[in-house]
Subunit: 130 residues, 2 copies
DNA sequence: GTAACTGCAAAATATTTGCATCCTT
DNA sequence: AAGGATGCAAATATTTTGCAGTTAC
């Protein structure tokens, strides 16, 4: 397989879903929201494709599960996912925040290529709910 | 089960192993280093126990796997794992760096309780190796 | 028409649970 | 001896791989 480059209904569906979501979605949520319109395995493959193309980025939660959100300024060559991620401990949702994350000064000998930062806490929705 | 509080040979072995390691270890590495001295499931349970007691902390890599390293200033009540983690893309090892990580200012409505930050790049050992 | 895409089955990987037995206190 | 700890088997969860049939271009 060359690489996810044909424009199929499945990809459109998933792109719309990710685009309309306020939060990063995991495979399970996507599968549920699509209500069986796309096979589980195809969902995995399309998500992988979106990431390869720099159209989405993957966030790995502390639970070890992968969450996906659309990238706004990335492409296949240059991928920068250097904003803050927030995980609400109440509703478990992961949100991309428009807060830049910079790599701090590292000890001698270490060079950085990427940074991933997840803050846990309580989100606005859950604050209002309590 | 009340909670991992008996001092057993298995726990001593694992504590020594974690203590002598320069890097955070995943279950697979621990299992291999122990060479079958402790059952896989027991390793999981003891690791969980160490974390509950604040003796170790768990770092979830982008691969979704859990890595464990000893905590130096934590206990069961207060757990602060607020230093930087480094993942070498060459040797795949995860190291705790003595670099503090502060929670940045968040958008209105978000409150933080914890932060997890992993920098990817090349570690000193792998720099020398190339 | 052809290569990419999809769906189904099955495998691989990581972790958890149940339960009988063993061992620390 | 009592209850926590361990080992083994089996279950659960997440993701990947193989392959035959389908579809976009």
């Amino acid at each position: 397989m060359e690489r996810q480059r044909r424009n199929t209904r499945s990809k459109q569906l998933m792109m719309n879903l990710l685009d309309s979501s306020q939060t990063a979605l995991c495979h399970e949520e996507i599968d549920r929201l699509l209500a069986g319109q796309i096979d589980r395995v195809t969902i995995y493959r399309i998500l992988q494709g979106f990431c390869d193309q720099g159209r989405a980025h993957k966030i790995t939660g502390d639970n070890g599960k992968a969450y996906y959100a659309l990238c706004h300024d990335c492409n296949a060559e240059e991928h920068h996912d250097d904003h803050l991620h927030f995980r609400c401990t109440q509703c478990r949702k992961i949100t991309c925040l428009d807060v830049p994350v910079a790599v701090p000064a590292l000890p001698t000998g270490y060079t950085a290529s990427d940074i991933s930062c997840i803050v846990s806490g309580c989100c606005p929705d859950c604050h209002n709910r309590i």
